[in-house]
Point group: C2
Chain length 343, copies 2
């Protein structure tokens, strides 16, 4: 059977209508409120075909039709290109370039959630080439050394290391020079045992301290693999009965709280979607079972320096894809502009 233009129009009408109401939509509604000028009977025949093709389905006999995942997929893939809608406003979001990345991200999720009425999430950027730029040890008390470690991309981490041996300022300075000259510019994978052995030998009696620092470096860089995820507007799911009724809300909210599965989802997006910036997952397409009644739209943002993260919007399958996609486009563009202009 062929999916001709009329069928497409009817499918579109069904989806649009269902998006608004959330109720199964019947043939008579389509017949009345679309500009096709066809009787309900004709629509019924066409809808019967559409159902056979798998684009729509009935929740039960004698109910109207609702779009299937396949239907949504077609809609998202094909119909969205047709319409170049007005770009969304999103005036409220004023991003200030600051070093507190964290705060920016929290702000972003909040604004997004408020603007879209869906649940939103942002993963903090991950450094893809994680090279050491700078190490500094400082003596802060007689028993403590503060190690400051900075990577390319200006990510800074600190670690307080307790020491037992006596250290004067000069020794600390020497150790600093030693560490920097050997480790600078290296990625964590490039630091091998031989190098560490060499370092320890040069450090002499302070080899224990050097070992601690190297451990700290490893830990710091490695710990970035636990990607931080910020969520907001998760309670928006209560706006959509199909997500919150029958105790579904609990499961879904647990997913948001747990965050592990979100992380996996975000990572997948980050890996897969290098070519296309915005991706749409519909229902069963999602790797997370608890989200089978949801759709997720994700966008990748980049802050220069190979710093990349993901923004995601979670809503019901009948979410307003056009609007969401547009909003995300605007937002990522804005981030791009702000962070890549200066640098």
């Amino acid at each position: 059977m062929e999916l001709d233009d009329r069928k497409l129009k009817i499918l579109q009408a069904v989806i649009r209508n269902y998006m608004e109401t959330g109720e199964p939509v019947g043939s008579r509604t389509i017949s009345k409120y679309s500009d096709l000028n066809l009787s309900s009977a004709t629509i019924r025949n066409e809808m019967s075909d559409l159902e056979e093709m798998g684009y729509i389905l009935q929740p039960h006999t004698s109910a109207g039709r609702i779009p299937s995942d396949k239907g949504y997929r077609l809609y998202v893939d094909r119909m969205m290109e047709e319409k170049d809608r007005e770009v969304s406003e999103l005036k409220e979001l004023m991003i200030e370039r600051t070093d507190k990345m964290e705060r920016v991200l929290k702000q972003v999720v909040k604004v997004l959630a408020a603007n879209t009425n869906y649940a939103t999430m942002v993963s903090a950027p991950v450094y893809h080439r994680n090279k050491l730029k700078f190490i500094q040890l400082s003596k802060v008390s007689s028993t403590q050394i503060l190690a400051v470690i900075m990577t390319e991309g200006n990510l800074v981490r600190n670690k307080v290391i307790p020491v037992t041996e006596e250290l004067d300022q000069e020794t600390v300075l020497k150790l600093n020079i030693l560490l920097n000259s050997v480790l600078n510019g290296l990625a964590i994978e490039e630091i091998n045992l031989a190098m560490i052995k060499n370092l320890k030998e040069q450090a002499g009696i302070h080899s224990g301290l050097v070992a601690d620092v190297v451990d700290a470096v490893a830990e710091v860089i490695h710990s970035e693999e636990e990607v931080e995820i910020y969520t907001s507007g998760t309670t928006n799911i209560f706006r959509y009965p199909e997500l919150s009724e029958n105790g579904k809300a609990s499961e879904l909210l647990s997913t948001f709280e747990e965050k592990q599965e979100l992380t996996d989802l975000m990572n997948r997006t980050l890996e897969g979607g290098r070519d296309q910036n915005i991706q749409v997952y519909i229902g069963q397409e999602l790797p997370v079972q608890a989200m089978k009644d949801c759709s997720v739209v994700t966008a990748t943002y980049e802050l220069g320096d190979g710093l990349r993260g993901t923004i995601g919007i979670v809503g019901p399958k009948r979410m307003d894809y056009e609007n969401v996609v547009n909003t995300l486009k605007t937002l990522t563009d804005q981030l791009d502009e702000i962070y890549n202009r200066k640098g």
Copy 2:
């Protein structure tokens, strides 16, 4: 009317039973499952008295009784002292002393939520005497200076400051000495304009940089006033119908997500409860309207150095107070031991 021993026992039985089942409890139940050996009729008379006194109430005529806020309050205040229950185990929680405070707190809320089946929250510690311990500037590139600021209590913050003027290593070293000698040991309130003016003069052509650093110091110390709150197990509220039915869940969960009201609550606890470590809020006693069907048990923890924060457990009014209080006691003791032993 007097609250004699028998009435007390019956009240206790009502509360215990209601805690388990969550259903209004009738006279017959008490008569059968308590060791009072009284007929249901007698119990009825006593219950009628208890209701008149305001300790229990009927959701509607011809239903059993449930405890009122006043009843819970009596129970919590009086009955808990009687019974010195076995100390809760809480073996799962192995706190490692690490510099990543954040991670410890996240771990604590998670374990608590898993152990109690209630929603939990922890406020990150607030520094009550926030003095500067150490400032260090480092040149990390030709256009950037990294400022590392450490306060008493080993809180470390970094800020990258862009610079336009040329700076050699020696100048950076001089500035370091200058900043430390002037600012060291001061609380933020003690840094006044005259001091800053003096600093700038001594810095000569680098006065702009000094201004930036001072700004950073202020921002860093000040930003700690937005107390961070970590929550976990918020979806546990779905275990308790009285909290989740009729769309109440949404409101309550929003409170958890928004966190502002939680912060207020935590702060109130921190201020009020210097003498008593553990506090119990029941229903209307809570300043947060959305929580009127909840009880909250809070505990203050201290990590030495005047570093104090609050742990809270949010559950239905029929929560297992003994267990929760015990768990919190154990936990705060443990934190005390670990953080105050070393230092």
